[in-house]
Symmetry: C2
Subunit: 385 residues, 2 copies
């Protein structure tokens, strides 16, 4: 990790001398079990560690590669201690000091707040961009365009979310209501944010869509770390103080000791409540609309949609070395075994085949997978969760 | 093996001195891969080695136990060399000289003909009863009643099939047309057989059902071994000669040598064509109707029917240590793994879970499983067949 951007290795594409782009550092929160993707995604192997799109890259690796043209190697990953090895294997270029390990989950306020605090200690002028490791985005060029605009808007003193232009009245996402246009060089599409709104009913979602004022909240944002910390301090002083203590010790020999002592004491709060909403109320939040394709891979139906290229007859097959035979069948097969899987006369089926657990459902029911996980939890069969 | 029935161990129930029942010896052909039950049933582990009814007994063991009250330990098993170990494990009481191993499959003519020839060498007055190892029968008492009648009719000089009273116009079985009643003491329900007929159309099957003259051909018969051999000699002299050669060597040190030399040269023909049909034409075949429940476990739909007692919600679960979780699901799960299997919102599904192969189909399509096996064969994936 360095704040000296003069080396070619660290210099991102498209950054000229003194450009805000030079101040950009990517943060990748890699958390979340992805319960609705059980049994593929589970506590020991959450979804960001899987290649769910058949691209040849895991979601984490693809997220890193998508940010590399903007951030070079200036990337911080925040994940659980359990995933340390897997993350290092997938991102061998990551320095140990750029891997933030959560000994226990503390929600996004602590995770992203700590990243901001560490980056501030290294460079108070840093602009961070936070992008979850479990999302699927294409094409990368449109994403990078949006992030560049967001960096310019952030340099003008905003916390800048990247909203997704809605394609249908989705009820599964929060929405962001855009206000007036900003006048920031390099950010022609940036607008102020009027408010964040929770997941709406379908009727309300349709009104949002019709109005043209709303975008989906994809949880992506770009912001000066100093502005993040300012709002965090104002709204969550206890959390702020703890994070400061860890951050000051981070690049010293005391890192592990202080982290181990302080992290467990931190309050749990989502970054939305700790920073984004109060900052929006204070007029400090902007939005840049993203026109790229975005999917949070929430269930196996979306896994199927994202893999339309790899079809055996009408069955989407995901898994290296999969041996799938179909007759008069359609649906999705996700396998991380080498077993022969034969599908006969069954439609819209979703099959997830792992060494110790098998899920069989339908595309229409794939949102209900969480219920199975809850049932297993209740029955004590936690070995496969 | 002994033809001296005076020991209590060998003496079957209900046999009085000089009763034909004393001459009875059971033959169990244990062959047939059961392709329509893939991947549970396969070349290395055919269906008769599985507990498909959730009874705690495999089909083979249940067949043996069902015959024990009639035959005592006088049982011959005919199977492939590949299944020697598995059969001996399931039937530890079987003498080596009562296990006939086919080095290669030669159809039922050779298999049952050799049993007849071996038994004739031991006792020319023996009455054999042949009962395939892969059928499900209940209750045992009604079956045994029918076999006793058949033994009495056989002692009167008949090859006696046990036909199943049809419950519906099945098109998947051959039928037997009964003629006049026989007058044999101990066999009040025995009739002559007019003819054997092949699997009919549904319309014809309905006519058979309505006429009351037809029963299903379940492939079960009881006959004096001498009468079997007489018809075999007349119709298949080459096969007869080969079987005689093996049978004469069977209970001598030359058994293996002669069998290895002669068996591969034997012609392949079904016992129906080699004996039953010509014998029927000669007026030597009778039928005793069986009123017991009978199922040849032809596919997973029948596996489901046979296991109605073991239900998780609406899902029939077969397999020791199965861990099945369902929500809004119905169908059949057969597993010989300990994997957790979760079914969500899927109806009438058939899932067969084995360590190296998984089948997912529906009850309606379970007859099509053979097609998957053929496709695997064609593709060279024979490791799982």
């Amino acid at each position: 990790m360095t704040t000296d951007n003069s080396t070619s290795h660290d210099s991102p594409q498209g950054a000229s001398a003194d450009s805000p782009l030079d101040r950009f550092i990517a943060v990748i929160p890699a958390g979340g079990v992805g319960t609705r993707l059980w049994p593929l995604s589970r506590a020991a192997a959450p979804k960001f560690l899987h290649d769910l799109t058949g691209s040849g890259s895991t979601l984490l690796r693809a997220t890193y590669d998508r940010l590399e043209p903007l951030a070079g190697s200036r990337v911080l990953v925040v994940t659980g201690t359990a995933h340390r090895e897997a993350v290092c294997r997938q991102l061998p270029e990551l320095d140990e000091s750029d891997l933030v390990l959560e000994s226990e989950p503390k929600d996004s306020g602590a995770a992203i707040g700590l990243a901001a605090a560490i980056l501030y200690e290294r460079d108070p002028d840093a602009i961070m961009g936070s992008f979850a490791a479990d999302q699927v985005i294409s094409p990368d060029g449109l994403f990078q365009d949006a992030v560049r605009e967001a960096i310019h808007a952030a340099a003008a003193g905003k916390i800048v979310t990247i909203g997704i232009k809605p394609t249908h009245p989705a009820t599964g996402f929060g929405y962001i209501r855009a206000g007036d246009k900003l006048s920031v060089t390099g950010a022609p599409n940036a607008h102020t944010v009027v408010e964040f709104v929770e997941k709406p009913s379908e009727e309300v979602a349709q009104q949002y869509l019709d109005s043209g004022e709303y975008v989906w909240n994809a949880g992506m944002f770009v912001a000066p770390v100093s502005l993040m910390l300012k709002h965090l301090e104002a709204n969550q002083p206890e959390l702020f103080a703890g994070l400061q203590e860890i951050a000051k010790a981070w690049d010293t020999p005391l890192r592990d000791e202080v982290t181990a002592r302080v992290w467990p004491t931190l309050p749990k709060i989502a970054i939305d409540y700790a920073v984004a909403e109060p900052a929006a109320a204070a007029g400090d939040v902007a939005v840049v609309p993203g026109t790229f394709r975005w999917d949070d891979v929430g269930d196996f139906a979306s896994v199927g949609r994202l893999n339309s290229a790899k079809e055996v007859d009408d069955v989407t097959v995901i898994g290296e070395g999969a041996r799938v035979f179909t007759e008069n069948a359609s649906g999705v097969v996700v396998t991380d075994t080498k077993r022969v899987i034969a599908l006969i006369g069954i439609k819209d089926v979703v099959i997830v085949d792992t060494p110790d657990a098998l899920l069989v459902t339908t595309k229409a029911h794939s949102q209900r997978v969480k219920a199975a996980v809850d049932a297993l939890k209740a029955s004590g069969d936690t070995d496969v969760l």
